[in-house]
């Protein structure tokens, strides 16, 4: 095979891998988020949360429930009510899930990787000039799914939920879009990777130049609107169960409902990714820009491995404490669960130490290992930020009561919209005073 075809095959392979990653990443995060949602809500409400389902002795603090949930959802009979508009009824969940999944590929997960052979891999699957505008375009399409689901269900509660939800989405899209304009003005670009690169500098020499520090008003407006866009509490009026049963998806069951359910969490991941990208520095690790990350890779990889080993030892201690506390509760192998995890975690920590030793002995493969380590570290940082913001979403949901409808409209049109407009004005003034876009 001549090198040209090899190169082409490699390129296609990379594209396929990226596409797969950007579809599978949010989908695989969904069960994790469901687990987090259940566990965090339980701990907030002084309950133990899911902890029963087990395969053999493996309970993993309720993670096994996810497998049960999935099988339940997939194996349920698909009932379709007689009076629905079948085409639109079936199209609605597809639209919502598809739209939710199609946004994430524009988000950069790491800096462009420069491989030794002169090859460059961008960590975005969709390299669009539109950048952030793609996000706005696609989130507005979500309204169609909600409205269609509400209307096609031929049910007054579903219709009411759909109407409410569409009014909410449309009125919160405005401040959402306007809040980002200030950000676009300061960074001078709509391309997400450029925005993230711009956030790598330091402000006053010590503060990372994250969006939240240079545009705090925009950050508040954007985060509030992102909550509204994902239809999550305190903005989940579309499914106010006390008034509307379940809102727009009341007539859906089985996996069709499951699609809505999944799409809600995917939308949450997407919103978190956008918040992280725009306001929390995206894949940037504070004080460690990409070049320094690559240069320091031999040291930092050792530090990262040591940190991972310490974390694993800590978890081993916690699981041993769990074992000691609940020993003898079940009087079968489930009692030993904590002990087994403890041993496994200690072994894994040993593995991490062994890898450290091996790296120290054979030397770090700087030529290709440096860029790869930098990319992995940045991806890790970005995914960590996404998860932290998702937990924030969950935390807010289990703290705040639902808004009343007039309060919702008041907040959207009379508070957030003027704040967003004022922010644009303030940003303009600041840019004028400091002189120019790149000031």
């Amino acid at each position: 095979m001549n090198p040209d075809t090899l190169n082409a095959v490699l390129d296609i392979g990379i594209v396929l891998a990226k596409v797969l990653f950007f579809i599978l990443f949010p989908l695989s995060l969904v069960p994790l988020l469901v687990w987090l949602e259940r566990k965090v809500s339980a701990l907030i409400q002084d309950r133990p949360g899911p902890n029963r389902a087990a395969i053999g002795f493996v309970r993993l603090g309720g993670l096994i429930h996810l497998i049960g949930d999935t099988f339940k959802m997939l194996s349920k009979e698909q009932l379709i009510p007689r009076n629905v508009h079948l085409f639109h009824y079936l199209a609605a969940p597809v639209i919502i899930a598809g739209v939710a999944l199609i946004i994430l590929p524009v988000v950069p997960f790491a800096d462009v990787i420069h491989l030794p052979g002169g090859k460059e891999i961008s960590m975005q699957a969709l390299h669009l000039d539109a950048g952030i505008l793609w996000y706005f375009a696609m989130t507005s399409l979500m309204v169609y799914g909600v409205v269609l689901a509400g209307w096609a269900s031929n049910n007054k509660y579903a219709l009411l939920g759909g109407v409410r939800s569409s009014a909410q989405l449309i009125s919160y899209e405005l401040p959402l879009g306007l809040s980002v304009i200030g950000l676009i003005m300061t960074f001078g670009t709509v391309h997400l990777n450029d925005m993230v690169i711009a956030q790598g500098d330091l402000l006053f020499g010590f503060l990372p130049k994250w969006g939240i520090f240079i545009q705090p008003l925009a950050a508040i407006v954007f985060i509030v609107c992102a909550f509204a866009e994902t239809n999550r509490a305190p903005f989940d009026l579309a499914e106010g169960e006390s008034e509307l049963v379940a809102g727009f998806h009341v007539e859906y069951g089985g996996m069709l409902f499951g699609t809505f359910f999944m799409a809600e969490y995917v939308a949450m991941v997407v919103a978190s990714a956008m918040i992280a990208t725009l306001f929390f520095g995206g894949w940037q690790i504070p004080y460690l820009p990409t070049e320094r990350l690559i240069a320091l890779a031999p040291v930092l990889s050792q530090v990262a491995l040591a940190g991972a080993a310490v974390v694993m030892l800590g978890l081993a201690f916690l699981s041993y404490r769990f074992y000691a506390k609940y020993n003898g509760k079940f009087k079968d192998i489930r009692d030993k669960e904590g002990l087994i995890y403890c041993v496994l975690l200690i072994l894994a920590a040993g593995g991490a130490f062994a890898t450290m030793g091996a790296l120290a002995m054979f030397g770090f493969p700087q030529e290709w290992g440096g860029p790869l380590f930098a990319a992995l570290a940045q991806m890790g940082a970005f995914i960590g930020k996404i998860l932290a913001i998702c937990i924030f979403f969950i935390w807010v949901r289990w703290t705040l009561p639902r808004f009343r409808y007039d309060q919702l409209m008041f907040l959207g049109w009379k508070s957030l919209l003027p704040i967003a407009l004022a922010n644009i004005f303030l940003t303009g003034v600041m840019i004028f005073l400091t002189g120019g876009l790149k000031g």
Binding site: L43, I44, Q45, D46, P48, K329, W395, V396, W398, T399
Partner: protein
């Protein structure tokens, strides 16, 4: 026509920070975060009962599953007088009598069925019984069966049920209600975690509340 009286209620004005919503939101979130951290570190454990492995000991006077008491020789105490079946508002007791070999006792139940699905757990049968033959002090609050027919329990089953005080020691781990006063003292913010006063009364003085309904035996 009398003029309508109007009472003006002075609503509390929100101050500036409350009007922004953000400050109260973060106050609320700090409350939930406190609960989250306290639960995660296990400092307010034992609010919950891990049900099948641990079971609550119900307060005295709790009307659980019925049981039939026995004489010293192990035979049924009931004399099939039909008082309970007569007083039962749900018509869930079905008794068929037969002759007892002891002429002083005269009768005993051949069949004593209670339909637990019809029973409303009012405790009238216990009140009506002239010879302390039926009681509801088993403390069993979970009544389950795979079939409808199995919810009708018969004489021999009723005879085997023990009062809660007897099998609390062995079959059920002594879990009970969480120790409320000590529990609230150990937490970081007692204002939030302290249970309502009603629950406390129920735990410490169960008889006081239930005495009107509980059987006046002993």
């Amino acid at each position: 026509m009398k003029p309508v009286k109007i009472k003006k209620v002075q609503r509390e004005e929100l101050n500036f920070w409350e009007k922004t919503y953000l400050v109260p939101i973060f106050q609320g979130m700090s409350v939930t975060a406190k609960h989250f951290v306290a639960n995660l570190t296990g400092s307010i454990d034992k609010v919950n009962v891990d049900y099948p492995e641990e079971q609550k000991v119900m307060p005295k006077g709790y009307r659980g599953k019925h049981r039939l008491t026995q004489r010293d020789d192990g035979t049924v105490k009931c004399v099939a007088c039909m008082m309970c079946a007569t007083v039962c508002p749900a018509n869930c007791i079905h008794i068929e009598a037969e002759e007892h070999e002891n002429p002083e006792i005269e009768k005993r139940p051949k069949i004593f069925d209670i339909d637990l699905l019809r029973c409303v757990y009012c405790g009238y049968c216990v009140e009506a019984c002239p010879c302390d033959a039926i009681r509801m002090d088993s403390g069993i609050y979970t009544i389950f069966a795979p079939k409808r027919e199995d919810f009708v329990i018969h004489k021999d089953q009723l005879l085997q049920i023990k009062p809660q005080s007897e099998f609390a020691a062995d079959a059920r781990p002594k879990q009970g209600m969480p120790a409320l006063p000590g529990h609230s003292a150990g937490t970081s913010s007692p204002q939030i975690f302290s249970p309502p006063a009603r629950a406390e009364n129920r735990d410490t003085e169960p008889m006081k509340q239930d005495s009107s309904l509980a059987p006046s035996k002993d």
